[in-house]
Amino acid sequence: MSGSSKKGLTLQEKHGLTGWVFLTPAVLLICWTSFYPMIQAFILSLKTGMGVNLSFSGFSNYTRILKDPTFKQTLFNTFFYLIIQVPVMLVLALILASLLNNKQLRFKGLFRTCIFLPCATSLVSYAMIFRSLFANDGFVNTVLRGFGMNPIMWFANAWTARAVIIIALIWRWTGYNMVFYLSGLQNIEYSVYEAARIDGASPLQTFFKITVPLLKPTILLTTITSTNGTLQLFDESLNLTNGGPGKSTMTMSHYIYNTSFVQSPNFGYAAAMSIIILILVAILAILQMKVGDER
């Protein structure tokens, strides 16, 4: 790595070159496994055919998407999860983080560990846990029976099945986002809170006037990553409900997976749907950044 043999370069140029050498492996890998496949996906989305026999067909895959009721259903499901789960989870995480940031609080470490612990479970594992908790003969129904109520067939009804997915998602990810907020809060001087308290600000005022504005970059980051994650939801849809009943809980990624690898493979159509997801993710990220930049 010593550039001493390269005469004629200034020290600064040499360091600049070293920098390029350092970042090249990472950049090449991302080009190879993200950008290149992305371009391939776009080309693929313009082709139709079964399996490997593909031929160019213009935008026919995209016009087919517009008429596909299953795609509309999965689009609705994914956005339903997004608009309910992401705000509820982030608000909960923010409240928990600001409670845990209180200097007078005892057992702080214990609370934090408990709330963060769900993150240690794998996506498949927690899907299995919630599946058996909410099964027809599962724990939740046993409790309901114990209270003399009728058991609920959670996975037989579209809305209760969606509710189970949302509950599971909130359980798994709230602690994760809370850690980001807690870290962000630690960067805020505690004296700011002291001053607010002396000035007679209520906890609610402190929360909205100090915590939220100062945490804005972190809130923006978690909103974008959570939105991105929910739009790509797959494991839960497959392992918790298997998309059912019917296709009423299936997510877009799950449908793409089924179109590519389960039913008679139609890579072109699946690629066109994945391009739609990319566009949605990009639009939402840009919108969120715009909103985040205001003020």
Partner: protein
């Protein structure tokens, strides 16, 4: 001082939330040690059926192989990812100039690419290279990620330039500065990154399901998913599988918990 009522409310809220967070995990543990029929009956105390559940689990699935595959894949992937991303993040920040900043901005857009979008072309790419069912094909897409590079780039910001200058005067090469100065100083960032990368690698399900199709390359999440295959579900056995799949990530999390919080703090500054 807070009023008594407020204090009570705060502790009550945190306690209820903590209990809700650990209850499913406690349920998993109890179910793993009980007979399937007792799990269904709602038994919530650890039982004595662990050995029997274990026996039916290893009779049903190749647990040893799945554990070995998962450990090997996750370990190698974590080491490679930390190496490639930390040196890149360091390179982007310490030697930054207009060109590198522009490249970094382009890399960030890769964060928006959903995995479902690149899955099919990547599968075709690896199958044309005869790499289906190989460990390399499983790992390659996750070695370099914009998120990790960003995390190390942010963390490099707090690394004092004086140390670099002093090391240069001492005649250390640029690579030696990275390994001997930066690497030991940034322990908490590495720990945080390691927690995230290991958990992602261990828990990854969609990509291995696509690219690893033989029984020999089965990983733990795939094994757990397989347990649901039969007509009747043996809840005791299923939850034992889930429990075993959760232990390694839980251990990593507990060991690195403290550094994790510190590392994240450095990254979001």
């Amino acid at each position: 001082m807070m009023s008594k009522g407020k204090k009570f409310f705060m502790y009550a809220f945190l306690t209820i939330f903590s209990l809700l967070s650990i209850f499913p995990l406690y349920y998993m543990f109890c179910a793993a040690t009980n007979k399937s029929i007792d799990v269904i009956a709602g038994k919530l105390i650890p039982g004595t059926y662990l050995i029997e559940n274990y026996k039916s689990l290893i009779a049903n699935q190749n647990l040893g192989l799945a554990l070995w595959n998962s450990f090997r894949n996750s370990f190698i992937l974590t080491v490679l990812c930390l190496l490639v991303c930390s040196i890149a993040g360091y390179g982007f920040e310490i030697y930054h100039d207009k060109g590198k900043d522009a490249v970094f901005t382009v890399l960030l857009t890769a964060m928006m690419i959903p995995f479902a979008a690149v899955m099919i072309p990547m599968f075709r790419m690896f199958s044309s290279l005869n790499m289906v069912n190989t460990m390399a094909a499983f790992m390659l897409p996750s070695i370099s990620t914009p998120f990790m590079i960003m995390m190390f780039r942010q963390a490099s910001r707090s690394f004092p330039h004086d140390i670099i200058e002093a090391a240069r005067i001492d005649g250390l090469s640029e690579l030696a500065i990275f390994f001997r100065m930066f690497f030991p100083t940034m322990r908490s960032t590495y720990a945080a990154a390691m927690t995230i990368v290991f958990m992602n690698a261990w828990n990854n399900y969609l990509w291995p399901k696509v690219i690893l199709m033989t029984n020999e390359s089965i990983t733990m999440p795939m094994l757990v998913a397989n347990l649901l295959g039969g007509y009747t579900v043996d809840y005791g056995m299923l939850m034992l599988g889930v429990f075993i799949c959760t232990i390694p990530t839980a251990i990593v999390f507990f060991c690195l918990q403290k550094s994790f919080a510190e590392g994240i703090t450095g990254a979001v500054k």
